[in-house]
């Protein structure tokens, strides 16, 4: 090969890398984010502020946690509808424990309650783990499809949280000052959001760099092949649903901190936000495909749109329509991409 040939092939390799980058789901999502920011801030200059960013990120936090778990579940070829109800149940159980066992009440200040909060967090996560174990048991033992199995636990979790709370929020100290520890007017990141980001990064590394993540993709891609390669598919799926449940429990604590109370309905419908984030992020409901960065950006877009629409004065009901359009667009882009790849 001559030098000019080499240079040419290097150039075409670089071109290929560039086209790959341009059609990459995450690149598209970043582009959409930038576009949304430009549109909203030109319609409403106040949109471009630390306060708005703080609001968006605070909303993002709880859904990001369950969307991260949902990413694993969807890549494995399943779905977890129970995460929204688990937020409510874990928040209620945790609030109940803190109020009735640990004596946390309205008079307590954030700093004094840190021990109780830690125990509350553990309780919350434990409740999530229990829901996850139940999902895995139904799916593995009785071969119930994940959609139905998690729909059942969703109903049960909602029922239990209403029973335990008698339908009313269990309040304790109303302001633990954790969600807004840093001045929201100048800093978009609260401590709680920083914790969420750390969790997302760690769990994301496990998805893309570890055997645990690899097996999740393998099972979603071809569960027969995964089993034939010696993977214990049932045991792995148990771990995946437990992870999803545990993160929902953590999200339950996050929402509790935000509301200052455990409320049975506090997570209702959040599972759909999470699924939307995962799908917008480029995952396939058929399994085997998905990226953590995509999910994170998907959730961010979801809340940017919602808060942008409210700020420019669009009636809140439109929010649902816009989210629906976003999901449809994401799936359409995905289908086009995979078609291109096949004919290329």
């Amino acid at each position: 090969m001559t030098d000019s040939h080499l240079a040419q092939s290097a150039r075409s390799a670089r071109l290929q890398q560039l086209t790959q980058l341009a059609t990459n789901q995450s690149t598209i999502l970043v582009g959409v984010m930038i576009l949304l920011t430009i549109v909203f801030s030109s319609l409403e200059p106040k949109f471009l502020s630390a306060l708005t960013a703080n609001n968006i990120l605070t909303d993002w936090g709880s859904v990001a946690l369950i969307a991260v778990g949902q990413t694993f579940v969807i890549i494995s070829g399943g779905i977890d509808l129970s995460v929204g109800a688990t937020i409510g149940l874990s928040g209620v159980v945790s609030a109940w424990t803190m109020a009735n066992v640990l004596g946390v009440d309205q008079t307590i200040k954030g700093g004094e309650a840190s021990g109780a909060l830690l125990i509350g967090t553990l309780v919350s996560v434990a409740v999530g783990v229990l829901v996850g174990l139940t999902n895995a048991f139904l799916i593995n033992r009785f071969k119930i499809v994940p959609f139905i199995a998690t729909l059942s636990t969703m109903g049960a979790a909602l029922g239990f949280s209403v029973i335990i709370s008698k339908g009313a929020p269990i309040g304790s100290a109303s302001n633990f000052a954790l969600i807004s520890a840093i001045d929201p007017k100048v800093n978009p990141f609260s401590w709680a959001v920083i914790v969420v980001i750390i969790v997302v990064v760690i769990v994301g590394l496990f998805l893309h760099k570890s055997r645990f993540g690899l097996y999740t993709y393998a099972i979603g891609s071809n569960s027969f092949a995964a089993r034939a390669a010696g993977i214990n598919v049932e045991r792995h799926l148990t771990k995946v649903y437990v992870l999803s449940g545990a993160l929902a429990g953590l999200a339950g604590m996050y929402v509790y901190l935000r509301l200052g109370a455990g409320s049975p309905s506090s997570g209702t419908g959040r599972e759909l936000d999470a699924i939307a984030a995962v799908v917008i992020g480029g995952a396939s409901l058929m399994g085997g495909v998905g990226r953590m960065l995509g999910t994170v950006l998907g959730a961010l877009i979801l809340f940017t749109v919602q808060s942008g629409l409210i700020m420019i004065g669009v009636a809140p009901d439109w929010k649902k329509v816009v989210v629906a359009v976003l999901i449809a667009a994401a799936v359409a882009v995905q289908t086009l991409q995979s078609k291109n790849r096949r004919t290329a």
Binding site: L214, F224, A225
Partner: protein, 257 residues
């Protein structure tokens, strides 16, 4: 010449609902022997493969490895015992890369605490997978490519390369020359010969009878889940093999019933 019996099934049967896929089949595989397993579509070949690989539990019958009775409860146990299987289809995970497929279930981890957490040594696996496949002699593009982007023949090459790389005792190849061109199919026959000369027992399944006649030492013919003939390859002609498979040549019942 062939050595001791390494793998044996006695009287195995398997039904899928009302379909009897295997009906009291028995066979012996010797070390350093290539055994051809032939039969019409639906004869039960792939079912027997899945019983031998631990993917399916037989309804009845016994399995012996090196004379020790085994009851595989999962493919993992058979793999750990040195038995590798290439399945007729769906043996690979299409969304994973070539090297991820080659190493699936046997990943290399990075050293240190991250390795303890299950973090993968992807680069090392890519390099090794590439070398494994090169040994098979069928060119596969970069081992960091996802399998869904390979041609049917390239996928088949990956599956063969994986089986050959890991097999220690027995290698079961269910229609390995499917999707392959003439030259690549020839390579596969070489790979089979190489495995045989290393002392492995090879079970080779194919509808391409010239290949079977060329590469095997012994041929077992399955018809409707029953083994109707088990004889040295030298005793078959092309015509008698076809006749035995289709049933136009009557066979003596082996079980004496």
């Amino acid at each position: 010449m062939s050595g001791d019996v390494i793998y044996e099934v006695k009287n195995v049967s398997k039904r899928y609902g009302s379909v009897v896929a295997l009906d009291g089949a028995s066979l012996k595989l010797h070390a350093g022997e290539v055994l051809g397993l032939v039969g019409d579509n639906g004869a039960g070949k792939s079912t027997l493969v899945k019983v031998l690989s631990g993917a399916h539990k037989p309804d009845g019958g016994q399995i012996f490895l090196d004379g020790v009775e085994q009851s595989w409860s999962s493919p993992r146990q058979a793999l750990d015992a040195g038995i590798e299987t290439l399945y007729q289809d769906s043996g690979l995970a299409p969304h994973l890369t070539v090297s991820q497929n080659v190493f699936l279930g046997r990943e290399k981890l990075v050293r240190g605490p991250l390795g303890a957490l299950g973090f993968l040594a992807s680069k090392a696996m890519e390099t090794e997978a590439h070398a494994d496949l090169e040994r098979v002699g069928i060119a596969v593009p970069s081992s960091s490519r996802s399998v869904s982007q390979l041609s049917g023949g390239q996928r088949q090459a990956v599956a063969i390369g994986r089986a050959v790389a890991w097999a220690r005792k027995v290698i079961i190849l269910d229609e390995p020359t499917n999707h392959l061109g003439a030259r690549q199919a020839g390579e596969v026959l070489h790979v089979i010969q190489a495995a045989k000369s290393k002392g492995l027992g090879v079970i080779f399944i194919s509808h391409t009878l010239p290949h079977v006649l060329e590469v095997t030492d012994r041929i077992v013919v399955l018809r409707l889940g029953k083994i109707v003939k088990d004889a040295p390859t030298a005793e078959f002609t092309s015509d008698s093999l076809i006749g035995t498979i289709t049933g136009s040549i009557q066979t003596i019942k082996l079980d004496g019933d």
